[in-house]
Amino acid sequence: MIHRIKNKRTMTKITSLADLRRKSEELKRRIDLREKSEHTENLIQVKVAMATCGIASGARETMDYLIEELDKRKIDAVVTQTGCMGYCYAEPTIEVKLPGQEPVVFGYVNTKKAKEIIEKYILNGELVDGIIPQNYQTINEKK
């Protein structure tokens, strides 16, 4: 229902193929999250720990910032939330997995730290301070 009302307001005629292509580009934003989730293996995946401890420490702001910033910089990434990773002392924590690499967990990620992670690690592969060594295996990884 909501869509139909929204459409009513903005529906202007599309008058040429170029116009249609422009519109398509614009609208892609709305569904790119779905497109990307179909092929996550080639994308940068960021998981934000969003359990009570994380949220209390500001994980929500961190997540919002990451989504917006990655989108603004046109970096192909999916940001998902996950449960508590167990590093409650270092919240907010995020896990970043670059394609073909092992995931890396960062602790104390506020928006400032998030910016640094994007600029250094995600864009250039340089490691930054605050990495938490992974000390567990999940049941999925056990062979």
Binding site: N7, M11, K13, I14, S16, R21, S24, L33, S37
Partner: protein, 598 residues
């Protein structure tokens, strides 16, 4: 600017899942999300069919691709609270792999989807079919834009011809050729008709495409109109598809508002508009001449071809009639090229085919596979095998016009030619799987019952012949058949095939003929031994009590609704066969396995 959502929750809005309250699920999800003020972060979208109807209603959470099955409206709160807020998947709603018994959280790892290639269903279960913007975001209407601005009608027809696309409605006529014929006829008005009169029992491919991605069909009709010189399109859809009709209406209205249908589309001077025509659900109206007569307001009866509708169709004007799934392939072919499409499939059958899997199979649902996969792949890998670990017996393809394929056909690659060579046909894509509990004589009788019911009665072979076939089959299932009857079935079937007016009559004996070929033993058993090995034909069944097992507890005698069981207490009982109505109540009640069927 619209908010950038963090998560998309897709809820299946196909007819199957809606019948299991998926609308209520979506509403509850929205409500729970609003209670937590997350409506700007999480979007709930009703999509078309995901294809995994067996385990519906389906809810898919993106970006982590979590695939929840058999969700109930009351699960909404837990999904929102646990998964959407805290990021913990709701384990009990995940799909469990029937073989490994492991929970599959990511739909990419489901065997059901791994062997599929989705072209006609590319947007089904991915976009909101009631929102044209989502279709446009998936390059919707760009194929139309491309042909209108960059290609001539002739070039477009060549491209479709080169792609090897063939009609998906049954006969497999090359689509490009069909368009070419209409394009060459000179006339003041021409029509494009979309045949959405899907009538095979157990088939729901076209309905799902229209429900899940209506714009792809509209776009293709406009492309066809440009190629053939038509400016009017009609969709002939059965009135018993209310949801598909509703979504088509919304889609047409939205396309008109954007100017993608109507006058001067995309400023190119090309005009095309589409209207709906409703059918009353007669099977014969899927035949193109009958369909056209029905649209004209006349009786839905076929007429002799030629003249073909391509030359002399709706209101006497040249008319291209294409099936829904055929059309849904067209925009993808134009955007990705003929070579891409032709690279999928077999030598003579290109691309993919959508099948509706039904019957005794674990994963009932909608699938799209490349031409040339084997029945084994479809039934065992995608379909998950036969229900309850029973033995595979046959698969019926092509509906009432098709035939039954058996174990020996399991490794035959599926394409138009191979299916015909095996005594069946592609048909529109219904696939009904049967196991050892199905009686093939009875199956043939079921399909014939359908054709007898649906025959329009215009020509004698179909009207009278099928009735006689049905009578013979009934006789056989009642244990009154003779060996001569079997010969008669074969001869009469052949005559009906050769002499009927339209496709309905010409193919109606197929289920009988193919079961005669593949299950001759079973027919003979019915006739000579008066035995139905599947235990389906009631008249041939006899319930007996094994005196060695019977302790004379009288439980069966008390359960029998017609007092057919007699015997002294603590003495073996017996069943009076003349009175027994074969309801099976005694067998159910007996605790000592004393009751058995011959």
């Amino acid at each position: 600017m619209t908010p950038k959502y963090k998560m998309h929750v897709l809820v299946c809005g196909g007819t199957g899942c809606r019948a299991s309250l998926s609308e209520q699920i979506a509403q509850n999800l929205r409500q729970e999300i609003e209670i937590r003020s997350l409506q700007d972060e999480i979007q709930v979208i009703m999509t078309g069919c995901f294809g995994f109807c067996e385990k519906g209603p389906i809810v898919k959470v993106m970006p982590d691709n979590t695939f929840y099955v058999q969700v109930k409206p009351e699960d909404a709160r837990e999904i929102v609270e646990e998964h959407l807020v805290k990021g913990r998947k709701v384990m009990r709603l995940l799909y469990v792999d029937p073989e490994t018994k492991e929970k599959v959280s990511d739909s990419k790892h489901m065997e059901f989807y791994q062997k599929q290639i989705r072209i006609a269903l590319r947007n089904c279960g991915f976009i909101n079919p009631e929102n044209i913007d989502e279709y446009i975001a998936r390059e919707g209407y760009q194929a139309l834009g491309k042909v209108l601005t960059e290609m001539t009608p002739l070039q477009t027809i060549e491209l479709i011809k080169k792609s090897g696309l063939r009609g998906r409605g049954g006969a497999g006529f090359p689509t490009g050729l069909k368009w070419e014929i209409t394009s060459k006829v000179k006339a003041d008005e021409k029509y494009v008709v979309c045949n959405a009169d899907e009538g095979d029992p157990g088939a729901f491919m076209d309905r799902s495409v229209l429900e899940g991605d209506p714009h792809s069909v509209l776009e293709a009709m406009a492309i066809c109109g440009y190629c053939t010189g038509a400016s009017k399109g009609l969709i002939y859809i059965r009135a018993e598809y209310p949801l598909a009709i509703e979504r088509l209406k919304i889609a047409i209205a939205q396309a008109r508002e954007y100017g993608l249908l109507g006058e001067n589309i995309l400023g190119t001077g090309f005009s095309f508009d589409i209207n709906l025509r409703y059918g009353a659900g007669a099977f014969v109206c899927g035949e193109e001449t009958a369909l056209i007569h029905s649209m004209e307001g006349n009786r839905g009866e076929p007429t002799i071809k030629p003249p073909f509708p391509s030359e002399h169709g709706y209101l006497g004007k040249p008319t291209t009639v294409n099936n829904v799934e055929t059309l849904a392939n067209v925009p993808a072919i134009i955007l990705k090229g003929a070579d891409w499409f032709a690279s999928i499939g077999t030598e003579k059958s290109k691309g993919t085919k959508v099948f509706a899997l039904a019957g005794k199979i674990n994963n009932v649902g909608l699938i799209e596979v490349p031409m040339g996969v084997t029945l084994r792949d479809v039934i065992y890998d995608i379909g998950g095998g036969i229900k309850n670990g029973k033995k595979f017996k046959a698969v019926q393809t092509g509906g009432p016009s098709g035939g039954c394929l058996t174990e020996k056909h399991l490794d035959t690659p599926i394409d138009y030619e191979n299916l015909v060579a095996s005594g069946s046909m592609m048909g529109s894509g219904g696939m009904i799987v049967m196991d050892e509990d199905d009686c093939m004589v009875n199956v043939a009788k079921f399909y014939l019952e359908f054709t007898v019911d649906e025959s329009c009665g215009k020509c004698a072979p179909c009207r009278i012949g099928n009735k006689r076939l049905h009578e013979i089959l009934t006789r056989i299932t009642e244990g009154k058949g003779t060996m001569e009857d079997l010969e008669l079935l074969r001869n009469l079937g052949q005559v009906i095939k050769d002499t009927s007016l339209c496709g309905l009559g010409q193919s109606s004996p197929n289920p009988v003929l193919s079961t005669l070929d593949n299950f001759w033993d079973e027919y003979v058993e019915h006739v000579r031994d008066k035995k139905c090995r599947a235990g389906v034909c009631k008249s041939l069944m006899r319930y007996y009590i094994n005196p060695e097992n019977c302790v004379g507890c009288t439980a069966c005698a008390r359960a029998c609704p017609v007092n057919a069981i007699s015997g002294e207490r603590k003495q073996p009982h017996t069943i009076n066969q003349d009175v027994c109505i074969k309801c099976g109540a005694c067998m159910e009640k007996c605790k000592f396995d004393a009751v058995y069927i011959n």
